[in-house]
């Protein structure tokens, strides 16, 4: 088994919502636990998928492990080195090793710079190559992401979505990273282009030995590219395991709902009958994101949980003292549910 490249232990990230002078001076303000005690690890050359609804904290995890934002507590170990408290200056050389592909196609593409200059800047951040080396590397990068030479002279606004994504990937590859956090890399693209990008990312992994933390809400794609998948709900990992197990034998009711909602859309008869006569659906205004008025009591999924309803609302689910913890159910599959 290959070595561990990234290990995250009990990671927490609180956002403090401060508005105006008063709360600023008193230091008060709401604390939003975007990530609430998350642990996982990545092995070299593997892909871990991170799935969940918007607002569940999956993007925050990506930003925190790369130290683009500071963790509130917890430990991030990259390649055997604790990077949780490194200063900005100490982090800079590490930036070559770990990179991020952002959801926004325009990320990193300065609207006032041509593609050539964008790539040149990325190539010269950490080293001082000669002009000839730069030219050679630019050509290599274009080849790696299959982009035409003629695009070098373009501004980002003149590129299509797929081309922007390719330039963004080339820019990241320029520093020769080992770990890439890919935050919804395909969600802003057309279906036919999405497939191109997914293939490209897998190709790059094969040829360059990359490790991916693949954040997405597109379940089939996550299942396709990942060896392991972690499912997040309200800042916590509720289930984690091998991709095929998560997809086909989910143990946590939330994972089940996620996958079922995908099948639902496609499958006409089954769900129509299943849903017919269902009571008026309860949809909370702050559906899926942290709700301040409703403090977490026990399992945070309980208010939406079908199992909780089926089991006749067992007290253990809403007991503040017993929030379910992740536990191993075999084959490295972990679930945070009292009834898994």
């Amino acid at each position: 088994m290959s070595r561990t490249i990234l290990e995250v232990t009990d990671l927490r990230k609180d956002y403090r919502q401060r508005r105006g002078l008063v709360s600023m001076l008193t230091g008060q303000g709401r604390v939003i636990p975007a990530v609430d005690g998350v642990s996982f690890y990545l092995r070299e050359n593997e892909t871990v998928g991170l799935v969940g609804e918007s607002g569940c904290g999956k993007t925050t995890i990506g930003r925190t492990v790369l130290r683009l934002t500071d963790a509130s507590s917890g430990r991030i170990v990259f390649d055997g080195r604790d990077i949780t408290n490194l200063s900005r200056a100490e982090l800079r050389p590490l930036r070559r090793e770990m990179q991020m592909i952002f959801q926004d196609l325009d990320a990193g593409l300065n609207p006032e710079m041509r593609v050539r200059d964008i790539l040149r800047e990325a190539l010269t951040v950490h080293e001082r190559p000669s002009e000839a080396e730069i030219a050679g590397r630019v050509r290599e990068l274009l080849e790696q992401v299959s982009l035409k030479d003629s695009k070098l002279a373009n501004f980002p606004s003149e590129l299509s979505g797929g081309e922007k994504r390719r330039v963004g990937i080339a820019r990241v590859l320029a520093v020769r990273p080992r770990l890439i956090v890919a935050d919804e890399p395909t969600s802003a693209l057309d279906i036919s282009i999405q497939a191109q990008v997914v293939n490209l990312l897998r190709d790059l992994q094969k040829h360059l030995g990359l490790t991916y933390l693949f954040i997405s809400h597109d379940l089939p794609v996550v299942e396709l590219v990942s060896q392991k998948v972690a499912v997040m709900y309200l800042g916590r990992i509720v289930e984690m395991g091998l991709a095929e197990n998560i997809a086909h034998q989910p143990r946590h009711p939330y994972t089940g709902i996620l996958w079922a909602s995908l099948a639902d859309k496609q499958n006409t008869e089954v769900s129509l009958h299943a849903r017919a006569g269902a009571p008026a659906e309860r949809e909370r205004p702050t559906w899926g994101v942290f709700d301040f008025e409703q403090p977490v009591n026990g399992c945070r999924f309980a208010p939406r949980c079908p199992l909780y309803q089926d089991k006749g609302r067992p007290a253990v689910c809403t007991d503040p003292a017993s929030e379910p913890q992740l536990r191993d159910v075999g084959h490295g599959h972990v679930v945070a549910c009292h009834f898994a």
Binding site: G20, L21, R95, D104, S157
Partner: protein, 297 residues
């Protein structure tokens, strides 16, 4: 009826289109006129600074007072003391040119610093700078200037410091807005993730590449403000004093004769003010439409 035409031949890339094709037709007229005004003002300033004037601006020709334009030897006529208006108008630029540059330098530099603190650092800075902006906006500029004049002295450079400082919030807000836009596009974060040092991100990516157009535009508009303030003050008698000419005191001095029907001595400087302020404003707005407008879509 409005006509839309497809460009003949192959359709080019956006960048290959000429400026003329990108702009609304009026914007180019605005900018052309503005550039003309800037050129005339700068040239006139230099003429005045080196004393290369068509006439002695103080020489009184008692035989030729309130002469109409195109009178022999005085292409723009003379004032109520028979002084050559053309020479006095050219010399009048001395009153606002350097002070105006001081004011826009203060507002551009100060505004940039505040804008970056508010937009890039955010948090505390953002809140404090917002309050600072609101505080400055509370004073009518002219009243604040009169307060400074009363407390200190009627010095145009004191006044321009006030103009410069009160011009900072607008620029700070625009820059903070630009940074917020770039941040929303994950641009700044991506630059950090790549490992670019903060000063490169701020100076190169934010200020130079993304804010230069905005700063030029604001400097242009700031000059219009400075001219307005200087002429207003010298009209009120707090600026340059007679017999040294300034456009404001020329209007004021000519005003008495104005009511008797002698328009020209006070209208000539008024038109100069009008044409110049209009020029700087149109240049600013035209540039804004040309350079910034294209990013909107």
């Amino acid at each position: 009826m409005r006509r839309y035409v497809q460009t003949p031949g192959p359709i080019g890339q956006f960048s290959e289109l000429s400026l003329r094709q990108r702009a609304g037709p009026l914007d180019l007229v605005y900018v052309a006129y503005g550039l003309l005004v800037v050129a005339v003002v700068v040239a006139s300033y230099l003429l005045g600074a080196f004393g290369w004037l068509p006439h002695d601006p103080q020489a009184m020709d008692i035989g030729l007072i309130n002469a109409a334009p195109f009178t022999s030897g005085h292409p723009l006529g003379t004032d109520f003391l028979g002084r050559d208006l053309q020479a006095r108008l050219i010399l009048g630029i001395q009153a606002y040119f350097l002070p105006g540059l001081l004011a826009i330098t203060i507002s551009v530099v100060g505004g940039s610093v505040l804008g970056i603190l508010a937009g890039y650092r955010g948090g505390w800075f953002d809140t404090i700078i917002t309050y600072f902006d609101n505080l400055l906006d509370s004073f009518p500029r002219l009243v604040l200037i009169l307060l400074v004049i009363a407390a200190f002295k009627a010095d145009i450079y004191y006044v321009m410091v006030v103009v410069g400082i009160t011009g900072m919030p607008v620029i700070a807000n625009l820059i903070a807005g630009k940074i917020a836009f770039l941040r929303q596009k994950s641009f700044i974060e991506a630059a950090h993730a790549l490992g670019l040092p903060a000063h490169t991100v701020i100076l190169k990516h934010i200020l130079w590449l993304n804010c230069r157009a905005l700063l030029v535009i604001q400097a242009t508009l700031g000059m219009a403000e400075a001219i307005l303030v200087e002429t207003s003050l010298s009209y009120l008698g707090f600026g340059v004093q007679e017999p040294t000419p300034s456009w404001g005191n020329m209007v004021q001095a000519g005003a008495n004769y104005f009511l008797q029907g002698n328009f020209w001595p006070s209208t000539a400087p008024a038109l100069a003010i009008l044409a110049t302020i209009l020029g700087f404003q149109l240049l600013g707005d035209g540039l804004n439409n040309l350079l910034e407008g294209k990013r909107r879509k």
